[in-house]
Symmetry: C2
Subunit: 192 residues, 2 copies
């Protein structure tokens, strides 16, 4: 019973499709096999294990996220770029919950390959801040601050921690945070 024409690419594409549609960050091999109309163990002819599959979807998610960010900041500089970036970042996370959750649930501890894959995601912010002519250490700090704010907001909202003042506009909260960040960054520049 050879060859229904299954390939690693088809498996990844189906997993991505499920994750994008459902908002879940994972898919079981059982469910994946069902959709592809094969038996679960057949998938192992193409992938090593679930971790392997997760890596492939992670790669896809990073690519899509980075492309989205680059499009958002094209032709922009400094504060304008940061504001556009922040908005794009938030919108991507909300419109691609599964992919964003996957990215933010991948611990890069052990695996050097995972770290490699995540680099472009860090570079977008570093690139963004390099317009300001900060020295290396300041760049490292402020890049962390921006990432923390952006992810922190999404994480809290996603978890449901914004229900408490649910009538208060969450977009305005984010704008306040970004303005706060920009003011801090400008103050930092004044000290150089």
């Amino acid at each position: 019973m050879r060859s229904k024409g299954l390939t690693k690419e088809i498996i990844i594409a189906e997993a991505v499709m499920y994750i994008e549609e459902s908002g879940h960050s994972t898919i079981s091999l059982h469910e994946l096999a069902r959709r592809l109309e094969v038996k679960t163990p057949s998938l192992y002819n193409h992938i090593k294990n679930t971790k392997d599959l997760q890596h492939e979807v992670f790669r896809y998610a990073i690519d899509k996220f980075v492309a989205n960010q680059n499009a958002a900041i094209a032709g922009r500089k400094k504060d304008d770029a940061i504001r556009a970036f922040s908005e794009a970042y938030y919108n991507f996370a909300m419109e691609n919950k599964g992919l964003y959750r996957l990215i933010m649930s991948m611990p890069l501890d052990n695996d050097d390959m995972e770290k490699e894959m995540a680099v472009p995601l860090l570079e977008t912010v570093i690139n963004l801040l390099s317009d300001y002519g900060l020295h290396d250490e300041a760049l490292a700090h402020w890049q962390r601050v921006l990432r923390a704010i952006l992810h922190g907001f999404i994480s809290q909202e996603d978890l449901g921690y914004f229900y408490y003042y649910k009538d208060v506009d969450s977009k305005k909260s984010r704008e306040i945070a970004i303005q706060c960040f920009l003011n801090g960054l400008h103050a930092e520049l004044g000290t150089i």
Copy 2:
């Protein structure tokens, strides 16, 4: 074969012990039963299901976190209190990874009881900012900003996103972020 003296409290205590020791945010009923020297289904005489157990551990985690925060800000006001709070928040998350991860992986969407349980966690920050005499809407915004920064930093560091500039002190990054927040807050007060 009645009564090895198992109670809901003992089960919760064992789950908490495992979560605190391992750093994982969950424990399987299988593992829990093994530790308590009973068979897995026996646990159902005391708990409803895993969600029920998770709620109980969540309640414990919130209590411990809030108590830690209150101790940290006792006798402090304004900026001093915010700095002490931020440091305590970070230290708690690092020293209680399992409990912190549990708190930050509990989606409060559907369940009103979960929302209730999480309220004290929001109130600590609101309480902290109430020293400044902000009006309600500003309080709601700035409370979100502080939460986002605090959690965002921990989340990014925990995930491994700080390896990129691993020689740059992460404590200094956090201090910059908090100073940035305080400056923003003071600027807000200037506009009232």
